[in-house]
């Protein structure tokens, strides 16, 4: 039904699917309710009719919602699954949260406080923290992963889109939680390699 080619689209699609169904149901419920309140107002409808229930209706409005939420569950699961399915040859990056900044460590030992990613390449994030809990959140990438002091959480991600976006902390971590912002830059693979080499040289 949807093009699940990348994670960002899959989240957007699942969101659209759930919001669409919810909106239809909400509008339906609200209009029915207001129509009944108008039509059966005591001024127009003096004598109420006692209807104690209807088994068929109860079954119908139990089964249909179960099927709808089943679909919602499935779309949510599909997108999530791409994040936790291991990919070979991924660029490995350690993401470390500390009150109140982010550290990124690359395989060749390069350390940075802004995140550089190669476009169209699989990336493996290993997320942890030094002090209290944080959460590694890139709104544009539609995911976050809590950074905990005693856990290494691993996610796989890939995007073709180049650009610069915000990284925020999403788990409350004290005084400057609101200001734990940094940037992610997604650049072409050659440009990324050049940046990494330059950083490595700078470290020496």
């Amino acid at each position: 039904m949807f093009n699940e080619s990348n994670y960002i689209d899959s989240v957007n699609n699942a969101m659209t699917f759930i919001v669409a169904i919810s909106t239809i149901l909400l509008v339906g419920i609200t209009i029915t309710m207001l129509y009944f309140v108008y039509k059966y107002n005591a001024k127009r409808h003096k004598k109420a009719v006692n209807i104690e229930g209807n088994m068929t209706l109860e079954v119908v409005w139990t089964i249909i919602p179960i099927m709808l939420v089943g679909g919602m569950f499935w779309y949510g699961y599909l997108g999530y699954n791409t994040l936790v399915t291991p990919v070979d040859n991924a660029t490995k990056i350690k993401v470390i949260g500390q009150m109140w900044r982010w550290h990124f460590e690359y395989e060749n030992g390069v350390k940075a406080d802004t995140l550089y990613l190669p476009a169209a390449q699989p990336i493996q994030f290993e997320v942890s923290a030094l002090d209290v809990s944080h959460s590694f959140y890139i709104p544009h990438f539609r995911f976050k992963q809590d950074a905990l002091p005693n856990r290494n959480r691993i996610l796989w991600f890939q995007t073709d889109e180049k650009g610069t976006w915000d990284i925020a902390c999403a788990e409350y971590c004290g005084l400057n939680h609101w200001n734990m912002y940094t940037k992610v830059h997604v650049v072409d693979k050659p440009e990324f390699d050049k940046w990494l080499a330059k950083q490595a040289a700078g470290t020496k």
């Binding site: 909400l26 409808h45 699961y77 409350y172």
Partner: protein
């Protein structure tokens, strides 16, 4: 002996016991007086909570510092959460209206353990005052958020311990009230009041009482463990001491998610009372509405880890908790459909309580649908811990439970106090509140989806417009609240006097008691023959009367 009997055949408000004045109230074991004690204290706490909410919104009206420092802001959102959850939403319906009406609705003279009931109120007050006192103690107000997440709550130097201990006492108050209600329902029902004849408010309060009894001890123990960890350095949750913070999150949410249902199920009960009465017909699908409360109570105890999808669990756990989260929406949906169907072919009076009930259905539906969205795993990873979630739970807790509390107030006020409020003012207040509510909370969905994290003192310029609308909404909302409460309080002294027993033409037992109810509620022992909403006597009587005329 006969003189004693006649003494208690007076309104509970006029009763002259051993003590008079304030002492006559704070030593009374009458469930109705205790309910009023809870009502007054709850509303005082509520006004403190609203003030904190107002200040937070004011700070967020524009980027940069507006009126306070980050540390103050962090303390204020912590206390706003603690006060609203533990001192307003949780006790709002069970402790106030459950206390007042549960015994009456099952035909009992009081709850099963009246003294324990008064003791619960004292625990509630001491716990509440302790939480508020933490603001003024040296060290400063707690700044952990109401969730007390470890390791931060171990590291911060603020007054976490008084707040934690306050929450433990409030938990015990909640457990004791729960036990009282369960025993009352099992042991004190009037003759003929079988389980399937109980009013739906009783069903919902009964289901809630079981959750209170079963899960509240877990939070009590967990918070005590945090106190031990902070004071003695025993490592249970803090990784620096060899503990596990995720364990704390599990234990916290094993209580705090069912607590969401402790908050919402009684409100559903109120709506199930109000709709049949103002449609003047029986409820549609009584057994489904009653049974779905039990289903929610049961399923709601199995979904706690959906608060922790970003913390990381095994994939199996993620999938199971996501699927169960979707399942718990089903009994809520069943309730909504049955309420709407109850309006069908009714004879509807759009009195203030019904307006609040309809407002509840609309806002709770939005709260429910926006709860499905974070139930989906991938979407959850985007919107968890953003203002989307803040919007969602305010729609459920305030649009749902809050409007349920206001519906209950407007429905039962004439019975409780023998005075009627001004209907036009109540309806005006409703519409102002409803408008302000949506302006305040709806923008949170949009900015949350766009990446506005929650618990942020400041924000990026692109979110300004949403924050501005939200803050203006908060002013309209507070105006609405002011109209409503001024009207209700004004009615206590100046409102039109009500002496008739059945003000709204309801069929449940509180409407056969004198107005206001006598000390032991009934002037003659109630005997129950019909179900709670069987407007059948109209069906039987009216044709008979018409025949007589003919």
């Amino acid at each position: 002996m006969s003189s004693t009997t006649s003494d208690v055949n007076v309104s509970y408000l006029d009763y002259k016991g051993k003590h008079s004045g304030l002492l006559g109230w704070i030593t009374s074991v009458d469930h109705k007086r205790i309910a009023i004690l809870y009502l007054v204290s709850m509303l005082v706490f509520f006004s403190v909570g609203v003030t904190f909410g107002f200040l937070m919104r004011l700070e967020l009206i524009a980027p940069g510092k507006t009126i306070m420092e980050p540390q103050t802001y962090n303390a204020i959102f912590t206390l706003h959460g603690l006060i609203m959850i533990f001192l307003f939403i949780i006790p709002g319906l069970p402790a106030v209206f459950g206390n007042f009406f549960l015994p009456i609705m099952v035909g009992a003279p009081d709850v099963a353990f009246p003294r324990l009931n008064l003791f619960s109120w004292y625990l509630f007050i001491i716990g509440g005052l302790l939480a508020i006192a933490s603001i003024f103690m040296p060290g400063g107000a707690p700044d952990t958020g109401w969730t007390f997440y470890i390791p931060y709550s171990i590291r911060t130097t603020t007054n976490v311990i008084p707040a934690l201990f306050g929450a433990v006492l409030l938990g015990f108050s909640s457990i004791l009230t729960g036990i009282n209600f369960v025993v009352t329902v099992h042991r004190l029902r009037a003759k003929g009041m079988t389980f399937w004849k109980m009013p739906l408010f009783v069903w919902s309060t009964y289901a809630t009482a079981w959750i209170q009894v079963l899960v509240t001890p877990i939070i009590g123990i967990t918070l005590l463990m945090v106190i031990v960890e902070r004071t003695l350095g025993v490592g249970m949750f803090d990784p620096a001491l060899g503990g596990d913070p995720v364990l704390f999150q599990h234990l916290f949410w094993i209580y705090s998610h069912p607590a969401v249902y402790i908050m919402i199920i009684p409100a559903m009960g109120v709506i199930s009372e109000v709709i049949p009465v103002f449609a003047q017909r029986t409820i549609f699908g009584y057994k489904f509405v009653a049974g779905s409360s039990i289903a929610i109570a049961f399923l709601g105890s199995l979904v706690w880890a959906h608060h922790m999808f970003t913390a990381g669990m095994s994939n199996t756990a993620m999938i199971i908790f996501s699927a169960l989260t979707f399942m718990v929406s089903i009994p809520s949906a069943i309730k909504v459909f049955n309420w709407v169907a109850t309006l069908y072919k009714g004879s509807i009076r759009t009195e203030p309580p019904l307006l609040f009930a309809l407002g509840f259905i609309f806002l709770f539906a939005i709260g429910g649908f926006t709860g499905l969205i974070p139930g989906a795993l991938s979407v959850n990873l985007n919107i968890h811990d953003t203002s989307f979630i803040v919007g969602h739970f305010h729609y459920v807790m305030f649009g749902g439970t809050g409007f349920g509390i206001f519906a209950a107030m407007h429905y039962w006020w004439p019975k409780m106090f023998g005075r009627m409020y001004n209907r036009t003012a109540a309806k005006t207040g409703f519409w102002v509140l409803f408008t302000g509510f949506n302006l305040l909370y709806f923008p949170m969905f949009i900015m949350g989806w766009l990446g506005m994290p929650r618990r942020y003192y400041d924000y990026l310029p692109e979110f300004h417009i949403y924050h501005l609308i939200s803050t203006v909404g908060s002013w309209i909302l507070i105006t609405g609240l002011t109209i409503l409460f001024t009207n209700l309080i004004h009615a206590l002294r100046k409102g039109e006097k009500v002496t008739e027993r059945n003000y709204w033409n309801g069929e449940t037992l509180e409407w056969i008691t004198p107005t206001p109810p006598y000390v032991f509620n009934f002037d003659k022992e109630p005997v129950v023959e019909a179900g709670p909403y069987e407007y059948k006597r109209n069906d039987v009587l009216e044709p008979a009367l018409e025949e007589e005329k003919a």
